[in-house]
């Protein structure tokens, strides 16, 4: 086991991918000389040169689209969109091109493209720089959506994503970059198809991903002190969802709370809740609970931002509600 930060894990994953396959290259805004807005690609320009570490102009639609074209042309591009907020300028490319080309061409084309982007709130960046729109992307057939929540997944999911024949959108929660974690290099994750159970319990299932995993684990410890043991499921892959793992846990605990930094309305949490209603209705002893962001554009002051986001206390409260005896 080694200790390293999530950022260092991303960088190690990028370096390994570039070393392993000459078709892999990285492009995006400030990925080269600047070293990446979150310093994930620091040092890679010097190591791999400007052909493979490409600084782009500020033109999200075109450099994401160029990534799609390069993938069609036989390369394995990693496109870094600085944050999910700016990815809206490239939404057309992702939704109308990357996700459709295989189907629209009757299976003739595939787009082996990986788009990485930072997501999430927590740094007082206000309403235009704090979105969690992973759920939007998870709505789209034809793309795979990943959210590595741990150092180990940050280290290994990129390599797995590059083996996918179809487009992959990979979300890195911005609050995770400086966090240190244990990297177990002897047991890398083997696939992108399965959620991970990060904590075992018997009383309730917490279903979460990305930046909310840590909050769920904190909440689970507080709940344990009160005698409530939570299963904590880290989805890892937001599309397609690993429903069997969720159902198996709920069959054991009979209660579930979904924790999602996206807004509640029309969200990934809504989808998971609906699936539980469809597939686990008779296993449930209480309605599915949800902890999401409040329905406001993200405010700037810290106390309001904290209040808008899922927090361990809110998760604890939501769990207490679903485990409370029902008549």
């Amino acid at each position: 086991m080694t200790k390293l930060t999530y950022r260092e894990a991303v960088r190690a994953a990028l370096r390994e991918a570039l070393q392993a396959d000459p078709r892999v290259f990285l492009m995006g805004e400030d990925v080269g000389r600047y070293g990446g807005a979150y310093a994930c690609s620091k040092g890679l320009l010097e190591e791999f040169g400007p052909e493979r570490i490409r600084d782009t102009p500020l033109s999200e639609s075109t450099f994401v689209g160029a990534g799609i074209g390069a993938a069609l042309g036989g390369l394995r591009p990693i496109v870094e969109v600085m944050t999910v907020n700016f990815s809206l300028l490239a939404l057309d490319q992702i939704v109308n091109n990357a996700a459709t080309l295989r189907h629209m061409s009757g299976g003739q084309l595939s787009v082996p493209l990986v788009v990485r982007m930072a997501t999430g709130a927590g740094r007082q960046l206000a309403a235009q720089h704090s979105h969690s729109l992973e759920g939007w992307y998870a709505h789209i057939p034809g793309i795979r959506v990943l959210a590595p929540a741990t150092v180990t997944d940050a280290r290994f999911m990129l390599g797995l994503a590059l083996r996918e024949p179809d487009p992959v959108i990979l979300f890195e929660h911005a609050m995770l970059y400086p966090l240190e974690g244990e990297l177990d290099e002897t047991a890398p994750p083997l696939d992108l198809d399965h959620a991970a159970i990060r904590r075992n319990g018997r009383d309730v299932t917490l279903i979460t991903y990305g930046g909310s995993l840590g909050k769920c684990l904190v909440a689970a410890e507080q709940l344990a002190a009160a005698g409530i043991e939570a299963d904590v499921i880290d989805l890892r892959t937001l599309r397609p969802l690993d429903l069997p793992t969720i159902l198996q846990s709920v069959a054991k605990t009979h209660r579930a709370v979904v924790v999602d930094e996206g807004w509640r309305t029309g969200s990934l949490s809504a989808e998971i809740s609906a699936r539980l209603m469809e597939e686990a209705f008779y296993d449930l002893d209480a309605p599915v609970g949800r902890v999401c962001s409040e329905e406001v554009p993200m405010p700037y002051p810290k106390h309001l931002e904290d209040a808008a986001l899922p927090q361990p206390e809110k998760i604890v409260a939501a769990v207490q509600q679903v485990v409370a005896p029902h008549d």
Binding site: F25, E51, R54, T56, P57, S59, S61, T62, F63, V64, G65, A66, G67, I68, G69, A70, A71, L72, G73, G74, L75, P77, D92, Q93, N96, N97, L101, R102, H103, M104, S105, G106, G107, Q108, L109, S110, P141, G142, R144, P165, D166, D191, D193, H194, T237, R239, P240, L241, D242
Partner: protein, 337 residues
């Protein structure tokens, strides 16, 4: 007026080939319009009629290693690129023997083997793809040209400017071929462009450019030859603007309230097919029987295409979720999600 030359600028075979290709597109699309009215073709159908000289002049300059990225008004380009007429027609019928297995329809003709990358129906959304295809060629040291077709409407979109900039900045071998038919759906060029001289915009990106009479197939062919040579030898982009006109409505739903019949009639005087026929006659390159023979060949090809489409099977509904994702050898999750 046609230029009178002492000796014809092309051989008789080449003359007949160009005329044949333009007639092929014209008659094929006339049949499409008819089949649309008959309910055989549905969805959007955007006819190229009037603009044939551009595809017929420009695309044969490319080799089969080069790539073509086209718009939703792409039947003509697909035909010239060599996609079988039957597969194109079957695609419009939505049949499984269509060039995109019926999944795309008129707006999404694809043929990976011929490096024909659609058939894209978000205006200007395909320009970045062309830039990326050219980037892949450059990084893999393949001396290829990617030709990207788009209309004047696309010039107003950000992707046009972003793509010109990126292709120029990174020196990528893209031929940006603007088919300026003077209307972005129903909005006239002067009503959507502050600078309606489209090729002039290239200077802002340091990109070489030219404009050509898009109704004159020989002029287009020559301009395209120069443009493709430039792209191939310098590995830098080029903007070629072909000034043309569509004679038919934007799509089958368009009542054409935005232009006068007189204007259309005036442009019809410059119909690329009679214009070319006139020149060939003047140069003595077209016998009366040639035209009739070409029409006959075209009619037979179109009839066979319709027959191929009619006879084609419908994709079984059980295959609905095919080709959303690449099939995985084992894993259940994601197999078709």
């Amino acid at each position: 007026m046609p230029t009178v030359l002492a000796s014809p600028p092309l051989t008789r075979d080449r003359a007949r080939e160009l005329l044949f290709e333009m007639l092929r597109i014209r008659r094929f699309e006339e049949k499409c319009a008819e089949l649309y009215s008959a309910g055989k073709i549905r969805g959007f159908l955007h006819l190229y009629i009037g603009e044939e000289a551009v595809a017929v002049g420009a695309l044969p300059v490319l080799t089969l290693d080069d790539a073509v990225v086209a718009t939703y008004r792409e039947h003509g380009h697909a035909l010239v690129r060599g996609l079988p007429a039957g597969e194109i027609m079957a695609e419009m019928f939505g049949k499984a023997n269509g060039c995109s297995r019926g999944r795309g329809g008129s707006m999404h003709l694809f043929d990976a083997r011929r490096r024909f990358y659609g058939g894209s129906a978000i205006v200007a959304g395909h320009l970045p793809l062309a830039v990326g295809l050219a980037l892949a060629d450059k990084l893999q040291h393949r001396p290829r040209v990617t030709t990207c077709l788009f209309g004047d409407g696309a010039v107003a979109e950000g992707e046009f400017h972003e793509s010109m900039n990126l292709a120029a900045l990174w020196k990528l071998p893209v031929l940006f071929l603007c088919e300026n038919n003077r209307y972005a759906m129903g909005t006239a060029l002067e009503r959507h462009q502050a600078q309606p001289d489209i090729q002039a915009k290239a200077a802002g990106y340091g990109v070489a450019s030219a404009a050509v009479d898009g109704m004159d197939v020989l002029a287009v062919a020559e301009a395209a030859r120069i443009a493709v040579d430039h792209v191939r030898t310098t590995s830098a982009p080029y903007l070629l603007e072909a000034r043309t006109y569509r004679f038919r409505a934007h799509s089958m739903y368009d009542a054409e309230l935005y232009r006068t019949k007189d204007e259309v009639e005036q442009w019809r005087q410059r119909d690329p097919i009679p214009l070319f026929v006139g020149k060939l006659r003047e140069w003595g390159l077209l016998a009366e029987t040639d035209l009739a023979a070409s029409e006959q060949r075209v009619a037979a090809e179109v009839a066979a295409a319709v027959q191929f489409a009619e006879a084609g099977p419908w994709e079984p509904v059980e295959h609905l979720a095919r080709d959303v994702c690449t099939p995985r050898s084992t894993g259940e999750p994601g197999a078709a999600s």
